[in-house]
């Protein structure tokens, strides 16, 4: 993993003496997609705003790309792209004019500006509506325009606050695809979302926010072990003799259940597909199918909040 591009230590935010972010610490490595999860009012957006230097830090330390957002906000904001929850654009301006305004604020020269705007709009699939007023744009198009702004800015870090909120399934899929492409470009992505299954599909690690604290942090597998007591479910379909015993002996496998004729479900603490395949082959068996099911983030999320607050567990569930 690359070195950390975002580091927060004991980060605290108080409003009128009431702490809404309570001494959280985390680090995000370069090129990582990091998800922030939690119920409304858990402190996700406040944390994001502090990282951008848009909200004062009550105590603690933040470094974004090695700089302090409070002291060097311009340097931080130059390389960090931000897509707020329900991003707004100037409706009376066209898509290109909105990006032009941002590009001029960044300080891009005319030729570079036009080139980048064109490329960014093509990238997010808005090339056909470049000269249309944003007034006519759907919510999904606005979100994509927001991502185009981040691409145009050539940001090293993209901070996306509820990027999929309010989008239809197709628009969500398209948006997540663009987020994956950001990662392929080497952009570090930090996103908050309530759509847990969607977050799970793109995030390398997640942090679970609860009442201003980070309750859990890690990969989905790690959180699954921590909260659900288990981890991965690997399904093996194979023909051969004594395969159940062979599979049970694979390191990391905690339990083997028969799931049908020539089918077994392995409960493991990690993805053991390579070892399971090797075990089948070593037993002279014929491997027909091998699949893995990660622990569900939604299950982790629900179980966690039920465990910390049985009365409100249902309310917290996304």
């Amino acid at each position: 993993m690359s070195e950390n591009v975002i580091e927060a230590r004991d980060l605290t935010k108080r409003y009128s003496g009431v702490a809404v972010v309570k001494g959280i610490s985390f680090a995000i490595a370069g090129g990582e997609i990091f998800g922030l999860l939690g119920p409304n009012g858990a402190g996700k957006t406040t944390t994001i705003l502090m990282l951008l230097g848009l909200s004062d830090i009550s105590s603690g330390q933040v470094r974004v790309l090695g700089r302090d957002p409070a002291r060097e906000p311009l340097a931080v904001k130059r390389w960090v792209g931000y897509l707020p929850d329900q991003v707004g654009f100037y409706d009376n301006l066209t898509a290109a004019d909105n990006l032009r305004y941002t590009a001029r604020l960044i300080g891009l020269g005319r030729d570079e500006r036009e080139q980048r705007i064109k490329e960014a709009l093509v990238h997010v699939g808005l090339a056909d509506v470049t000269d249309k007023r944003v007034l006519t744009f759907s919510r999904g198009m606005r979100q994509r325009l927001g991502l185009a702004e981040i691409l145009m800015k050539d940001a090293k870090i993209a901070i996306l606050d509820e990027p999929t909120s309010g989008l239809d399934p197709q628009a969500t899929i398209e948006l997540l695809e663009i987020i994956r492409e950001l990662k392929h470009r080497g952009v570090t992505v930090m996103l908050s979302s309530h759509l847990l299954d969607r977050v799970q599909s793109v995030c390398d690690r997640v942090a679970l926010f609860s009442e201003g604290n980070i309750a859990l942090m890690g990969t989905v597998g790690e959180l699954g072990r921590q909260v659900l007591g288990g981890g991965f479910n690997v399904e093996v379909e194979a023909q051969g003799q004594g395969l159940a015993e062979r599979l049970a002996a694979v390191p990391g496998v905690m339990k083997v259940e028969a799931a049908g004729p020539d089918r077994w479900r392995l409960a493991s603490d990690r993805d053991v597909r390579p070892e399971a395949a090797a075990a089948v082959v070593a037993a002279g068996g014929r491997l027909l199918r091998l699949s893995v099911e990660e622990p569900s983030l939604e299950a982790i999320y629900t179980r966690y909040f039920q465990s910390v607050s049985p009365q409100t567990g249902g309310r917290h569930a996304a």
């Binding site: 951008l52 909200s55 311009l74 340097a75 904001k77 707020p84 991003v87 707004g88 941002t102």
Partner: protein, 314 residues
């Protein structure tokens, strides 16, 4: 804590964007139409009046700004009513509209400080008003020249130009006030209502109640003291400051803004009605002009402080 970079980074970009928005807005178009209409009406009536009564006046051009014919008030009186409305129309939703459109956090996430955004909005508004006023000023002078057929003197043009600058300073106060309320109130309608309420207070109610308030606060038998107190109270209103400054600048024969107490020796050698040099007129109204500029700055600074302390999130 020392911040890096210039607070004005991006200022020019914000000004040009805001200026383009305002100049092309429908509300500006409507206000411009209104102002042009007012100019034509007041100048037409003023020229008629001037032709009938003051054909021998050496300051005919200035009479265009000050002459009224019942029921049409003078041009500068119209401006004292209309300029606040134009400024309020341009400023009442400057900042709160960024909240309601959810553009504020996105724009402030770009490498600029809040200083540039707020100052850019104020400057753009002031430039817009200035452009309108210059056009109006040229229109009045042009129409006056056409109708009167008398070329203005340098002194007249200079006085008219100073009047233009005073009008811009006056508009600046109302623009800063509208901007302040657009920061304080998240609802544009509330901001507009409160600003219009203050305009109503200062334009129509304050001149009536200011002397009473002053006299109730100042316990004195000295007439001078009472008059001074009443005048001071009235001058808390930008409308009073503008009216006093404009009327004296546009009337070279005016020598004072308050009551005068003359003693016989002072009258020796005085030529009643003789015009005052422009620098002397300017000296008399300098406090009013400074008051208007200071008012703009004070209101802007209050707005700036509130804006800096505000949370960005909607």
């Amino acid at each position: 804590m020392q911040r890096e970079g210039s607070p004005w980074q991006g200022l020019g970009v914000v000004i040009s964007k805001e200026l383009a928005d305002q100049v092309t807005s429908i509300r500006m178009f409507v206000l411009e139409l209104l102002v042009v209409l007012v100019a034509i009406v007041t100048v037409s009536f003023a020229t008629e009046q001037v032709k009938q009564t003051t054909a021998e006046d050496p300051f005919l051009l200035l009479r265009l700004f000050t002459t009224s014919q019942d029921p049409i008030p003078s041009f500068f009186t119209f401006l004292s009513l209309l300029l606040p409305l134009i400024a309020i129309a341009l400023g009442f939703d400057s900042v709160n509209s960024e909240h309601s459109r959810r553009t504020l956090s996105r724009i402030l996430a770009q490498p600029i400080y809040r200083d540039a955004l707020l100052f850019g909005k104020f400057i753009a508004g002031l430039i817009t008003i200035s452009i309108s006023l210059v056009v109006l000023w040229l229109l009045v002078i042009g129409l006056g020249l056409l109708q009167l057929g008398v070329p203005p003197s340098f002194d007249e043009v200079a006085r008219a130009f100073i009047f233009l600058l005073v009008a811009i300073a006056y508009a600046g106060v109302w623009l800063a006030l509208a901007l302040l309320f657009s920061i304080v109130f998240r609802s544009a309608a509330t901001a507009a209502l409160v600003t219009l309420g203050l305009w109503f207070l200062f334009t129509l109610i304050w001149p009536l109640i200011a002397p009473r308030i002053a006299l109730s606060l100042v316990q004195s038998d000295d007439l001078n003291t009472l008059v001074f107190a009443a005048q001071t109270a009235a001058r808390l209103s930008p409308v009073t400051l503008f009216n006093e400054a404009s009327s004296l600048i546009l009337d070279p024969s005016a020598r004072t803004l308050g009551p005068i107490y003359l003693y016989l020796p002072q009258l020796q050698g005085a030529v009643l009605g003789a015009p005052l040099p422009i620098d002397q007129s300017l000296l008399i109204v300098w406090p009013q002009i400074v008051g208007l500029i200071a008012g703009s700055i004070l209101l802007f600074v209050i707005g700036y402080i509130v804006f800096q302390r505000q949370e960005v999130r909607a």
